[in-house]
């Protein structure tokens, strides 16, 4: 981007703090994931593969730690040494948290990852030189690097499989970083329609692929600027504020009876994803 553009809109492209620098005017895309509803079924993850042309790397490369799942389902066990996991497991869908003060953005030497005016962390494949500094600096390690040239690798997209590729999403070649985009192609399409009609995108008009697939509606996604959106209401009810690093829940001694939290808030990343605690019945 040109220097003038960069300087004039500096606070948009690099956030130090979500509100102080520049409030979002029209959109701030955000998510809320209810861990009590999430069953860990992986539908979101597969939907993400389908929507975003994510390569299947195969066993050998998976073993080398080179898997590409933008959305991974983590499974945690209770850690108190009990004989059985008798309260089940704890699942957590993890993808790019779209931090407002994203550590990846500041370190990229080429400026390939920036903050958009919509409050999403963009990744520009063609600008990426592959220094992987962004991934090194990502606390969640949700950025995935193209270690190989998957489009030309055997059995990644052989023969007819290429016809499934989503034309709205680039197929990444070797040496570039990629990550969850909050399904930017869907947001762009929705904004387009809205602009043609001279309005803003309505709540529910744009769904991410994971949200759309989720059989238990655990994921909600929408515009945080719009107070009537479901996601804004959820954030508000849980008293989670985008620009705070200590939420009401943690500010209070002994916590509150709210469930909303963001992961690793103490790092002051101001993620755009709020999780709702999983609940377990105490009577059984």
């Amino acid at each position: 981007m040109s220097v003038t553009n960069l300087l004039e809109n500096w606070s948009q492209f690099r956030h130090g703090h979500p509100v102080d620098d520049k409030p979002h005017e029209e959109y701030k895309w955000a998510m809320a994931i209810d861990l009590d509803a999430c069953t860990g079924c992986n539908a979101c993850s597969v939907a993400c593969y389908a929507e975003n042309n994510i390569p299947v790397v195969g066993k050998e490369k998976f073993n080398a730690g080179q898997q590409m799942h933008w959305m991974r389902i983590e499974r945690y066990w209770p850690e108190d040494g009990r004989e059985f996991a008798d309260q089940g497991a704890q699942f957590l869908p993890m993808m790019c948290q779209q931090c407002e003060a994203a550590p990846c953005e500041t370190v990229c030497p080429a400026g390939a990852t920036n903050h958009t005016a919509d409050g999403v962390n963009s990744q520009i494949y063609n600008r990426c030189v592959g220094s992987r500094y962004c991934s090194a600096n990502c606390p969640f390690k949700v950025r995935y690097f193209n270690w190989y040239d998957y489009p030309s690798t055997d059995n990644v997209w052989p023969a007819e499989m290429t016809q499934q590729l989503n034309p709205d999403v680039s197929v990444r070649s070797k040496g570039v970083m990629e990550k969850c985009t909050f399904c930017v192609q869907r947001m762009t399409a929705a904004k387009n329609t809205a602009r043609n009609e001279g309005r803003l995108v309505r709540d529910g008009e744009v769904q991410t692929a994971c949200q759309q697939a989720c059989p238990t509606n655990a994921i909600s996604f929408g515009n945080l600027v719009d107070p009537e959106s479901k996601v804004a209401k959820q954030w508000a009810h849980q008293q989670v504020e985008l620009s705070k690093e200590v939420q009401a829940k943690d500010a209070q001694e002994g916590g509150t009876d709210l469930r909303g939290y963001r992961i690793m808030e103490e790092l002051r990343l101001y993620p755009s994803v709020m999780y709702l605690e999983r609940v377990r019945e105490s009577a059984i």
Partner: protein, 736 residues
């Protein structure tokens, strides 16, 4: 709107749209090119299909038998992605990972592309005329009872044609086979409630106690149950539902339970009666017949037999008594034993005692056209088929939609018996193990290319006829739809009856349109009605809900004492049905192989789940290659220590271990079916999946398990990452 199928097929043509089609190698060429690519436009364009804009077509998911409706996003004639169709009450716009992978079944490069005739060890490509002619020829002079048709669960108009074809051949041998079907539970339900598959209202229940029913993962209709589960968890204004899962090996549902109770394999029925006994103790009045049976099951005895503490049992009883209505479900873990029917019956008693019948257990919708209603598959059918093959009674066998060579338990020696059938015709999408054993392979259209209808087994609200329609033009010219093949075969026998139907599409259209008044389309003209049906993707059948006949009785309930120690084969093998791979037909869909197993996060392989205690006793650590030996076979696989399994049990997931089925399935993992002993449920004759006993030995080899979880395993290392709270710490009412 879509006027008729022929034009429509034209519309489904794949367009070359240059860069917009396949953005391969998005970072390669960085400058503008002139004249390097070719753009192909339509010859005659459909009104609505505009390059660059996705068109959505509704159809039905064929990945499992749940019958979810799907919406395919089609661009430039290529189907890109499947979503749930919101107008279906079953999946309400949602779709599981298995369903999402439907596109990979369609675009799979390993599909069979032309009819193949066995020539020694090879398949020789022949024409359709020759193939169909050959079938006709081989059937000449063969008696009806020497012919058999093996299918999976089958419904809709394909079922009608199938039935008619068998009738025309004079055969009654239709075997519907489903290796992992809940067939014992179906039979038990029939006895207890009068219907095989009642509606289970999770959304209405306050407490759900599931005896090994993996309804969130792989049981019956997981997407629908997940939807209801979400409602159940939310409850009305914060009255969150409580899920208790009782099983020997943790399923995905178990992993989501508030309390997961590890039970000694096979003692589920005892625990159910124990809970009834405890309910009695808690002051719930029991019917006399029940009380007579349950009084023997005092807490002490039950606790000793099942390994579940008396305290846990009484807690469960207290909860069940306090919160109503509840719902008790019997699933795979409970039914997979010699006394599986008894287990299921005992569990059904619990529903009766708790008064759930009619409240959370409702009668399903009746299907007004029984000829299209589903014929569900079971395991005893393949046993019956195997018997008649072994006796040399069969001369011609058709197989469609199942892979018995892979899924039949080793003890049946299915593959050897299959050789005794002189002519085997397999309808196949891929060359799986059964297709490789065939004499003639008929290549099928994929589910996204074919026409069809389906009535799901598990119906919600009203019965519905799901429409399956092509989302794009055929990828391969040499494949044919199942209906088309059956129709062609029928025409060989009853040319006159079917002469009006050029193809299965015209048959289907006329069959549906003929009944339009019964299908809610009275008064509409045929084209409009048909067009609307196709665009909706399903037809709601007129509602007429049946009634439950609550005849659940404790009389005749005999539960054996827990199985004795078997010193030669000390462990119970619990073959796990996973949400992604089910009975193995999907193993060639790479998304499913690469999508980690939710509980172990293992990919691209099979594994042996062991409780850490058992492992310690045997000196096994994670990644050891162990040999699992049953009386019927043995396999070698990597060991995974798992805190969600009873120490007396080991578990191996089903679905992998193919020796065929294409590049992504072949050679991945091991086949747990090959371990199964032929032990059946006494009442129904169904194969008891969990009754196989095994022993485990180390091979001395060790591998790194390929899985998503890192070195920290399932630990959060004291960080606040995936947080949980107990109900008394949070206030759920008022949540958005």
């Amino acid at each position: 709107m879509i006027e008729n199928g022929f034009n429509r097929r034209d519309f489904l043509k794949v367009l070359g749209w240059g860069g917009a089609v396949v953005a391969l190698s998005g970072c390669g060429n960085t400058s503008v090119q002139d004249g390097a690519e070719i753009v192909t436009s339509y010859v005659e364009p459909p009104e609505y299909a505009l390059p660059g804009i996705g068109v959505y077509f509704n159809s039905t998911c064929a990945q499992c038998d749940a019958g979810c409706s799907i919406t395919g996003r089609v661009r430039e004639g290529r189907v890109l992605k499947l979503e749930g169709n919101a107008s279906s009450a079953i999946n309400r716009g949602k779709l599981c990972g298995l369903g999402q992978a439907g596109v990979q079944a369609h675009y799979n490069p390993d599909r069979v592309r032309e009819p193949l005739l066995r020539n020694g060890d090879k398949g020789e490509a022949i024409t359709w005329d020759k193939a169909l002619g050959l079938i006709n020829e081989k059937l000449n002079g063969v008696k009806g009872d020497e012919i058999a048709f093996l299918t999976g669960a089958v419904s809709g108009h394909v079922k009608v044609l199938l039935k008619n074809y068998l009738e025309a051949l004079g055969s009654k041998n239709h075997y519907a086979y489903d290796a992992v079907a809940p067939s014992v539970v179906r039979a038990a339900n029939k006895k207890a409630y009068g219907v095989e598959m009642p509606r289970l209202r999770l959304d209405k229940a306050q407490v759900v106690v599931s005896f090994g029913a993996d309804f969130l993962g792989a049981w019956v209709s997981p997407v629908h149950f997940s939807q209801e589960y979400a409602q159940f968890r939310k409850g009305s204004d914060g009255a969150r539902g409580v899920l208790v899962q009782i099983e020997s090996k943790m399923t995905l549902t178990g992993a989501n339970a508030d309390r997961w109770i590890a039970i000694r394999p096979g003692t589920e029925g005892i625990l159910a009666l124990g809970v009834i006994n405890a309910l009695d103790a808690a002051g719930l009045s029991l019917p006399a017949d029940v009380a007579a049976v349950s009084k023997a099951y005092n807490a002490e005895r039950v606790s000793k037999d099942t390994g579940v503490s008396a305290e846990q049992i009484s807690k469960l009883a207290t909860l069940l008594k306090a919160r109503t209505p509840s719902l008790v479900i019997a699933g795979g873990a409970a039914e997979g034993y010699k006394h599986g029917s008894q287990n299921a019956a005992a569990i059904a008693l619990l529903n009766r005692v708790l008064g759930n019948i009619g409240k959370t257990i409702e009668a399903p919708a009746n299907v007004p056209f029984p000829q299209v209603a589903v014929t569900t598959g079971n395991r005893s059918s393949v046993q019956a088929l195997n018997d008649s093959m072994a006796n040399g009674k069969l001369k011609v066998l058709f197989s469609y939609g199942v892979n018995p060579v892979f899924t039949a338990p080793a003890a049946l020696k299915f593959q050897d018996n299959l050789k005794k059938v002189s002519f085997k015709v397999v309808f196949a999408n891929y060359l799986d193990e059964t297709a490789l054993a065939a004499d003639l392979v008929l290549p099928l259209d994929s589910a996204l290319e074919d026409w069809g209808t389906a009535v799901p087994e598990y119906l919600v609200e009203a019965a519905q006829l799901n429409i399956q329609q092509p989302l794009m033009e055929k990828l391969h010219a040499g494949t044919r739809g199942t209906g088309d093949i059956l129709l062609a075969l029928l025409k060989q026998r009853r040319a006159n009856e079917y002469k009006d139907y050029e193809d299965f599409y015209s048959y289907l259209r006329s069959a549906v349109v003929k009944n339009k008044s019964a299908l809610g389309g009275a008064g509409a003209d045929d084209d409009t009605f048909w067009g609307e049906t196709l665009s909706e993707g399903l037809v709601k059948l007129p509602a007429s809900n049946g009634a439950l006949s609550a005849k659940s009785s404790a009389a005749g309930l005999v539960l054996p004492a827990p199985a004795e120690e078997d010193s030669a084969y000390p462990l119970h093998l619990i073959p796990a049905v996973t949400a992604n791979l089910r009975d193995g037909r999907h193993a060639n869909q790479p998304w499913l192989q690469e999508s980690p197993d939710p509980l172990t996060t293992i990919v691209w392989d099979s594994w042996v789940e062991l409780h850490p205690k058992t492992a310690a006793k045997l000196g096994i650590v994670e990644g050891d290659i162990v040999e699992v030996t049953s009386r019927s076979g043995s396999v070698k696989a990597q060991a995974y220590l798992f805190p969600g399994i009873h120490p007396d049990a080991v578990s191996i997931p089903l679905g992998n271990g193919h020796t065929a089925l294409g590049r992504w399935a072949k050679g991945v993992g091991i086949n747990a079916f090959s371990l199964l002993d032929q032990v059946v449920d006494k009442d129904t004759g169904e194969l008891a999946l969990n009754e196989t006993r095994v022993k485990i030995g180390k091979t001395g080899k060790r591998v790194m398990i390929v899985k998503d979880e890192g070195a920290a395993g399932g630990s959060q290392a004291g960080k606040k990452i995936a947080v949980s709270a107990s109900t008394d710490e949070v206030e759920l009412s008022g949540e958005v």
